[in-house]
Amino acid sequence: MTTDPNACQEYNQLTRRRFMAVSTAVAAAAATPAWLPRVAFAQGGFSRDVIVCIYLRGGADGLSLCVPYGDPGYYANRPVTRVDPPGASGGMGAVDLDGFFGFAPSMQPLMGVYQAGHLLVVHATGSVDPTRSHFDAQKFMELGKPADSTLFTGWLGRHIAGVSPRDSSAPFRAVGIGYQLQLALSGAPGAVPVPDLANFNIRGSTATRAARLAWLKDIHQYQNEMFRTAASNTQTTIDALAAINAGSYLPPTGNWAYPATNLGSGRGAFSKAMQQTAALIRAEIGVEAVAIDLDGWDLHSALGPLTGSMANQMAAVANTLRAFYEDVLMSANKNVTVVVMSEFGRRVAENGSAGVDHGHGNVFFAMGRQIIGGRVLRNWPGLGAGQLYQNLDLQVTIDHRDLLAEIVSRRLGNPSLGQVFPGYTPTFRNIAVAG
């Protein structure tokens, strides 16, 4: 691992060898559950990407994230909550992407990534399930199969369960930043929820810490698999995170800065989670997937795509992704693919409170050096009369599973898509370079 001359001393001290030394017993003990079919996977020299899966909880307004300024239906339906076309007076017009779509102004930080060809925007995409319930929509999207209430593992969890560990000595294979493991990761062996990668240790006397942890781990041995595994993972995770010391990690000076960690509505926590994830990936301890959530998108009232809530949310996403891009993908040259999704877009027509109700089609982002970006991929259905889903919403013309499946296949090296997305035959859209 190359060391950053600018990173602080504590973080720098970690090397891969040193990490292994402090955690000899951390090999992920969790076996693939018996109920999952095993896939014999030959790596063949292929270096799989780490995937960072960002979920915008609450239904982010795709028409603000990527504004279809070339569609008159947008302006007809959004008289108050509009983003004007590029060149609008006051500098508050859309940032042009391709002559038809543009970023809202607060998404400007991502233009550099887009222009480098490392950011792909997909529009009129999402889950084909018709639900406008947050909870069902998130569930079916994370399960990777619409309208199936019998499935209980997530698409990312099945992917990880189906491939051999990227690093057989990894302390854990996947991390969900949060208190609950994200449903997308459900079923992944060696997946741990961690609310704060920089604060994960047992309280009490340091003199008895090891003995108490051993006592707690031991007394879980007769519990069910989930419980037993959680106890075992706790010890392993404490050791690994103590070795990484992610809280002291700083990106190289001169890079785009991660936003302040005290921003409200989870935006600061999102920035912190991404910065800590950068430390985790740079530490090269074998993590394969990280799931991170950002909520605050359920803007039924006062959308504010230019200066309000939506603009703040978008600025946090754009600045954080830009910082992560420069930090991990460019400075550290790590093989990482970032995907960003949300359960559904919002209603095309704004409501009486300058907000937008639950809709259907939405945008999706993929970021990575092997992502074929710099474009807005779409089969645009239009926003005019007769073009809307149920006469209300943006249609879904690209199933989000097409995008995820291609990434699973080409960037995560897993050809068994039938296991990851059961009952679905994806259409690849050439969004990623294979291998």
Partner: protein, 495 residues
């Protein structure tokens, strides 16, 4: 200064003055359902109906018998809780304020802190324990994220008192109506901005999906729009100088006066003040719907029976809902006292429940629970802080994977990180009071068994605690650490 010491003295004294010289489990009475008789039955009953087994409730069950004890808990006004009430009144003045008075407070964060601390003190020390558990159920069912805005931080005080607590054991339709008129709910789900011409669907969708019918309850997008139109004009007084600030009012100027059809029911065109009837009609349609009966029955069973109640039991409870007009007390009576009661499934304690049960089990005391805010936040279970409108999850999958904050409750509490047992400040456990002279490892384990399990601590826990106690010098630190480990054990995570 607070009156708390006198409040807790009543509990603590009876704990300290325990007259029984030998450790003897307290049993339920012979007339109880079979599963609730004896010491194990009393332990099950108390764990199911409270925020955790305690010596006080064990004595109460022993004195009153199972049936009378449950009936008392179902009629909380019959239980004297005046010591806690006095403490709350002295410590958290916002609890008694009108919505307008709360709104005049300078610091929304302070208002929120008072409400959260009151929530914890009630969960830990109220003698109306079943009531507090029911309050927890409805708080999740009608979830309002207290940090959604500064306004909601203050409005939630009235919602907690006048909606949830006022109706927790009453009739569900009354609870639903009170929630529909709640300023905090109106603001949280944006119905305060729902007006004729361009309705806001947020509340209309969630009242059907989350509060009544359930997501598979048979409504369509068209119903969502129609219900939204019915609730146009339901808002609250916003004038900051008004004594009625943040109380409900129907604004006929915002109401959609045309006719509507909700779930096949025709609602005629209504003008002026009579337009308010539209919303009442919706409340009635939803309240009386058989899918609501099943959904609410399922919620009650999830909270008090277990994760996977049999379909027949859901049907039975739904029929009780329909025949009693949604009488919550009648439903709970069936779940807790029917001859089949006690066949409940074990449930995994959520973090706040666990922390409160640790305090109750170990006889912990508190002059202020402020120091519990950080550990609860680190466990993801701070009261009133779940963001989406569906409330904190109540599944083992949601909470079983993150054990470290749960282990830290006992570790930090017994390391005096939440307060001092010598100075008797903040949140603390006095191990000397619990031990009552027990000095050997075996005797200490017996005391813990009595306090945490009505004398029925699992064998594995007991032997391993003895092992820990005897693995080194059995000093104060080691003894206190053993308490922390006992409540971090898997056995103590269930109720």
């Amino acid at each position: 200064m607070s009156t708390l010491p006198s409040l807790l003295a009543s509990d603590a004294d009876s704990l300290l003055n325990e007259s029984e010289p030998v450790i003897r489990p307290k049993g339920g009475d012979a007339n109880a359902p079979a599963a609730l008789s004896g010491a194990s039955g009393a332990l099950r009953l108390i764990n199911r109906c409270t925020f955790g087994f305690s010596q006080y409730e064990a004595r109460q069950v022993g004195r009153l018998g199972t049936k009378r004890w449950v009936e008392g808990q179902l009629n909380p006004a019959t239980i004297d809780d005046s010591a806690l009430d006095a403490f709350l009144a002295a410590s958290y003045p916002v609890l008694a304020m009108t919505p307008a008075q709360v709104g005049a407070q300078a610091s929304p964060a302070d208002v929120r802190n008072q409400l959260q601390r009151a929530r914890l003190m009630r969960a830990m020390f109220s003698r109306r324990q079943l009531f507090e558990r029911v309050v927890e159920m409805w708080t999740d069912h009608f979830n309002i994220h207290i940090n959604d805005s500064d306004t909601i931080r203050m409005m939630k005080v009235g919602d907690d008192r006048d909606v949830v607590r006022a109706n927790a054991l009453g009739l569900f339709p009354a609870l639903l109506l009170a929630s529909a008129r709640s300023a905090a709910m109106l603001a949280y789900l944006n119905n305060d901005e729902n007006r004729v011409g361009a309705p806001n669907e947020n509340y209309a969708r969630e009242i059907m999906e989350l509060h009544t019918l359930g997501v598979t309850g048979g409504y369509t997008q068209a119903d969502v729009l129609q219900v939204a139109r019915c609730f146009t004009g339901w808002r609250y007084v916003t004038t900051s100088a008004s004594p009625s600030r943040w109380t409900f009012f129907f604004d006929s100027s915002r109401h959609d006066t045309a006719s509507k059809t909700v779930l096949g029911n025709f609602i005629p065109a209504r003008t002026g003040a009579s337009g308010y009837q539209d919303g009442l009609d919706v409340i009635a349609i939803l309240s009386n719907h058989p899918n609501t009966a099943r959904f609410i029955a399922g919620k009650v069973l999830l909270a008090f029976w277990g994760y996977t109640p049999p379909a027949g039991l859901v049907d039975t409870l739904a029929s009780i809902y329909l025949s009693t007009g949604g009488d919550i007390k009648a439903m709970l009576t069936y779940v807790l006292l029917d001859p089949g009661a006690g066949a409940w499934q074990p449930k995994f304690k959520r973090p706040m429940h666990l922390l409160v049960s640790i305090m109750r089990g170990l006889g912990g005391l508190a002059t202020s629970p402020a120091n519990l805010a950080t550990p609860l936040a680190q466990a993801g279970n701070q009261p009133f802080e779940w963001g989406p409108p569906d409330g904190y999850p109540d599944t083992q999958e949601a909470w079983m994977r993150l054990l470290l904050p749960r282990w830290n409750f006992g570790a930090a509490l017994m390391n005096s990180e939440y307060g001092s047992y010598t100075a008797k400040t903040n949140v603390y456990v006095d191990h000397i009071a619990l031990l009552r002279g027990a000095a050997t490892a075996s005797a200490i384990a017996d005391r813990l068994s009595q306090n945490l399990y009505n004398g029925l601590m699992p064998f594995t826990d007991r032997t391993r605690l003895v092992s820990y106690l005897t693995a080194g010098t059995m000093d104060t630190t080691r003894i206190r650490e053993s308490f922390g480990l006992a409540v971090g054990s898997p056995s103590f995570q269930w109720y």
